[in-house]
Amino acid sequence: MKNNLSMPVRYVINILSIIFFLVLGNFLLKIGLFGRAQVSTIIQSGIYIILAVSLNIVVGYLGHIPLGQAGFMAIGGYAAAFFWKSGILGGELAFIIGIIIAGISSGLFGFLISMPAFRLNGDYFAIITLAFSEIIRSVLINFPKVTGGAQGLKRIPKYSNFFCVYSIVIIVCTLIHLIMKSKHGRAILSTREDEIASKSCGVNIRRYKIFAFTISAFFTGIAGAVYATNQGIIAPSEYGFMKSVDVLVMVVLGGMGSMIGSITAAAFLASLPLFLQSVMKSFNNYRMIVYSFILIIIMVFKPSGLFGNYDFSFSAILERIINRLFVSKNEKVHENL
């Protein structure tokens, strides 16, 4: 007999492991196990994980390449920064509300942009999203009275710490996971596989494309807000094409359509500078060269990325271990037959 964990047990296991992870991480940071550079790298990785996971919705699950993620980051960052700097609220509550404002404003823009953008496909889609992101950047530069112009916004209150960043990471990942497991997520996947076939099955592909793009923009905006509060200073020049490519590299390296792939690749690439700093001081000069090389090499030799579209399930692994330990050999042979 194969043991299957029932769903409530799975939920309990997952929730417990998440709490364990957060508490352990917080504890390790509190006792000062890591230096300042390491802590900031860990937080930085968390931000990139949110970015990569939310870009993965469009690139991996929907099968389109947007090049305008930086624009949504900028909207989220500026929206949250305006709210925080206005000082209406303070403390934890302000952080949460600011993040929600960032997500909603960025999601709104995503929705508005996706309506015209999805009239186009493939390369045209990539270009039009890039165009929108450049427009957003120009607007930020050209209204200096509101946005601080090219200097950007300074003295954004700092709310980010390990606990809140990684709570957001977990919430975002869970939400995306749940969406993708739902009816709507299946519809998005079917759109990627074959538009015409899924259209003939009654999937409103246009609506699902817009939906996927909007939630991707929503989560990217949240990441932008966390990025803004973590940096303290934001300027339009940060949100260029290269920022979008940064995130795209992570998704492509991890494997388009694999959440664990995006998470691993984002964490790896975001912490790479820290590892390599001791080896070579000026890694930052080579960073984009290495990135572009990774992109080309992966596309030439393994277009599916490191993880393909494999997704990780903790409960499934537990199940396998339990089966390995408790199911007798005879039954296993039987099962194999």
Binding site: I65, Y124, A126, I196, Y291
Partner: protein, 298 residues
């Protein structure tokens, strides 16, 4: 009251023509490559930067203007053929997504390589040692000689291109391949040769454009290709990608839009205007002004 200034309008028209012809030359490269292998060659803009740097170095090493220009153009051609061989050819059967990502990778690679070699700061381009800029007078109008030469050379290169594509065997092969790659192959066309030739042609035009651009705006920096390339690509899309007259029409349109926007005093909004034009055109005519509609067959 402001008097309607015809002279001003005429000289702005000439400026638009100049900028437009540079964009047209570059967008031809995008358009031809896209027409043949359906690849958005993101690296094409950076070829312009490569051309600029090659010209700069050869001038600094005291090669004459003609040799420098020759070096720049042939350097562009060689590098783009190399890119095609190493990065695009292995992916010819891959999905369009992979191709696009590879092209983005190549573009970033070139930009950052240049940044590593020449540092991120721009370098002044010794424009006067390639083209002396003389003021020319036609009646009451002052025109720079660089402007006239740019327009003339662009028109000559475009005419040569049209002759090449329409009157030679290789051009015929190119047109056949862009019509249908597989049927072309069945008719005995050497696809690899045609594709390499297309890249050579497109990047030589980009090389010419890069010299023209650097003579007008004498500064070379590693990311200069990004915006020019982007706008030229927009021009190609605007005119209908894959169509040679379309690329020219699109290039001039973008040139005029830019000059018009800066002439009415919104020079900070040039990029926004160009992107807005792209978005509007794509929404009204998704296949560009002169493009053909590609219908998807099941």
């Amino acid at each position: 009251m402001h008097r309607f200034n015809w002279l001003l309008i005429f000289s702005q028209f000439i400026n638009g023509l100049q900028l437009g012809s540079i964009y047209a030359l570059i967008s031809l490269g995008y358009s031809m490559v896209y027409g043949i292998i359906m690849l958005l060659n993101f690296a094409h803009g950076d070829i312009i930067m490569v051309g600029g740097y090659i010209a700069l170095i050869s001038i600094l090493n005291r090669f004459g203007p003609f040799i420098s220009v020759f070096f720049a153009i042939s350097g562009c051609a060689v590098i783009s053929v190399l890119i095609e061989r190493l990065a695009y050819r292995p992916l010819r059967k891959a999905s369009k997504t992979s191709l696009l990502i590879t092209a983005i990778g190549v573009s970033i690679f070139l930009q950052n390589l240049a940044q590593l070699i020449f540092s991120a700061n721009g370098r002044p381009f010794p424009a006067s040692s390639i083209l002396k800029n003389n003021k020319m007078r036609f009646g009451k109008i002052n025109v720079n000689s660089v402007t006239i030469i740019t327009i003339l050379i662009s028109i000559i290169s475009m005419l040569l291109l049209v002759i090449l594509v329409h009157k030679t065997k290789l051009g015929k092969a190119m047109r056949a391949v862009s019509e249908d790659l597989e049927s072309g192959q069945l008719m005995g066309i050497n696809i690899d040769k045609v594709i390499s030739f297309t890249f050579i042609l497109g990047s030589s035009l980009a090389g010419i454009a890069s010299i023209m651009f650097c003579c007008q705006y004498p500064l070379v920096n590693p990311t200069m290709g990004y915006m020019i390339g982007m706008k030229a690509f927009i021009a190609a899309v605007l005119g209908g990608i894959g169509s040679i007259p379309g690329a020219v029409v699109g290039g001039f349109t973008i040139g005029f839009v830019e000059i018009f926007v800066s002439a009415i005093g919104f020079s900070a909004w040039i990029d926004v205007a160009v992107f807005a034009v792209l978005i509007i055109v794509l929404l009204i005519r998704p296949f560009g002004i002169l493009g053909r509609r590609l219908t998807e067959k099941v």
